[in-house]
Amino acid sequence: MGDVFSNLGLGFGVVFQLVQWTPAFLGGVSIPIPVNILLCLIGALVGTLVGVLPGIGTIATVAMLLPITFGLPPVGALIMLAGIYYGAQYGGSTTSILVNIPGEAGSVVTALDGFQMAKQGRAGPALAIAAMGSFFAGCVATVLIAVLGAPLTKLALAFGPAEYFSLMVLGLIFAVVLAKGSVLKAIAMIVFGLLLSMVGSDIETGASRMAFNIPELADGLGFATLAMGLFGFAEIIRNLDAGGETDRQLVQQKVTGLMPTRKDLKDCTPAILRGTALGSILGILPGGGAVIASFAAYTMEKKISKNPERFGRGAIEGVAAPESANNAAAQTSFIPLLTLGIPPNAVMALMVGAMTIHGIVPGPQVMQKQPELVWGMIASMWVGNLMLLIINLPLVGIWVRLLRVPYRLMFPSIVVFCAIGIYSVNNAPTDVMLAGAFGLLGYWLIKHDFEPAPLLLGMVLGPLMEENLRRALLISRGDWTVFATRPVSAVLMAIAAFLLVLAVLPSLRKKRDEVFVESEN
């Protein structure tokens, strides 16, 4: 324990490090400047501003801003990148809530209730609770990394392909529970998503699958392309169709407070706690844990809630829990990087790239060899979360005011931002066209009461599921029993089966009540 404090002390020492700045015009008087704090602030701010642009998700933001950090000293560069990462993630939630465009898989579920809240004039409380939940989760996760980082690494290494496959099956069950309407249609959408995720090249043989010789499809459909289409463009088209202007005026009249009420906070506290716990654990697992954190948390809230029918219709817990889980997972997903030097996801891979540029290739000894780097980064996580809270609570008012822009001016701007955003991810015009096509598909789905969220989750989980299944079977030489004989995998499978029964049973029983649900709409 004493170690932890001295290590954290070292970390905060790095973060609060002052550099003496002696400008000539002051005649030799030097001013101490907290360079790393400033870098953290700039990172969080820039990350938020870029992440908030619809069409640009977390990975794209970090990739875009990565070169900016090349000119900085290594510790400063990483602190700034970490700030960009959290900022982008939080910015992505903002677009989910305000305009129903999730920037990455984690904020898909935030869009479900967050956007409904915005429609009811409660965008302010939704944004504020997202910031508060994230901050709390960030604090807990920072402590967790500092105290248990090294032992938790074992968990990451214990997860082999069989365990990941079972985890992904569990994830798909979560996606079923997310749906607010028909379970059958939700499953159909998940399978549709899985099918879309098959487009691209086969991981084992490299064969091109359903790509029709279109080079942009060779690596599959991008998440941003699909999300912009199904959520962003489809929402715009639907709004135009429904007379967007009147809709929006209604929202403006409804705007009540900017901050959550006392009742909101009371409702959310347990949700934030549970979300943080779940997210912290899932985040440690490289290769897919963090992806399912937010919707695992959402599913849990919906299942625990006394009135689950509020979910999907603007329940504040439906924003608080996934946002906390998402941020906790984002934080703990640093563990494999900090203890093993292995990047668990695309964003971390970019960070390793940044370190490599500076001549530091992280490995299992990074904690011993570069303690000021590792602990500085851990301390900067906490500082970064604090910055986000400080930046974002005042911004809530501005974002909500943005909703007052007349829709006739708002929607063409969203179209342009989305188009530039998608294009800039890969500099590929085809991606923009694909997003447009998915926009029309999304419009059709809305018309037929199919929900796009399960589709998107199926699309995200599909490759992880197929690849790990195939790896597991290759390693076991075709023996399917590995999923039941490996204990962790067996437990995950059992939970999945249990949840599936829970999800399907009430819907069978509730058939006769459905009339009421429909009329309530």
């Binding site: 392909p161 690596d219 000894q365 390693i475």
Partner: protein, 328 residues
Amino acid sequence: MNLHSRILAAGALAALAGLSALPAQAQSPAYPTRAITMIVPFAAGGPTDVISRIVTAHMAQTLGQSIIIENVVGAGGTTATTRAARATNDGYTLITGHMGTHAASVPLYPKLAYHPEKDFEPIALLAGTPILILAKKDFAPKDLKEFATYVKANVDKVNAAHAGVGSVSHVSCELLNSVLEIKPTGVPFNGTGPAMNALVGGQVDYMCDQIVNAVPQIKGGTIKAYAIATPERNPSLPDVPTTKEAGLPAFQAQAWNAIFAPKGTPPEVIAKLNAAAVKALDDENVRKRLLDLGSVIPPTAERTPASLAALVKSEIAKWTPVVKPAGN
């Protein structure tokens, strides 16, 4: 220097070089007049990207124009390479190609939309990244000879990880397997990180990978290295023997990175770019940063466009019998 004297200088240089095409030289005296785009066919932060950034930063100083890195990912780098092949051949769009995009892709993708030799002008070889034979830390064989006997005897049991079809780790492992005359079960991963994770976690037995990612893991004792597939030992891993020393001389592989321009780029532009690249490779700071990554910097004689063209030719010949077409 004003425009007029630049033309004179260019003419003088051309005359010195013994080139007769003076009018053509005079037409584009001041290349580059605007920023140059360097396409990197992989994500920011990968070995190819890092090498490109280190070298182009110095080249930009020499050329007096900025070089913008454009990371275009997809299909093992072939998406980007196709785009570069179709780019305007004015010297303002270049690409950092590597062993995969400009050699192994030929047998791997029979329908490839470009040919490394016919659609590109070679400019300069930048750096080679040696390939290592790695294994999980408790893998039974103690050295490369034992490893060879062990995998041959237990070919049904061993699993070889790789970072995805067409990746350096994949094609080099195919070469190793063909040298050993074995066909073990290959377990594909999505990139080097996950593959390394599985090796550290002991879920797979061995793999081949570039030195950059492996050095800290080897030094940390989480995995072990049997040999390095270059003619000489690497300063960053002085204890790891070469494949020749360890008894498998036939396994030689390096992931090389080199700059190419679209076919038909004017020769004086190529010469200027080559000179800038050569100068960068002689810079102390650039050399140090490349060596820190475990890279091998080519000797002066191997930095010419002609020697790069020869390298591409020999590499295509080397990989064609080893790499199976994708989809099989």
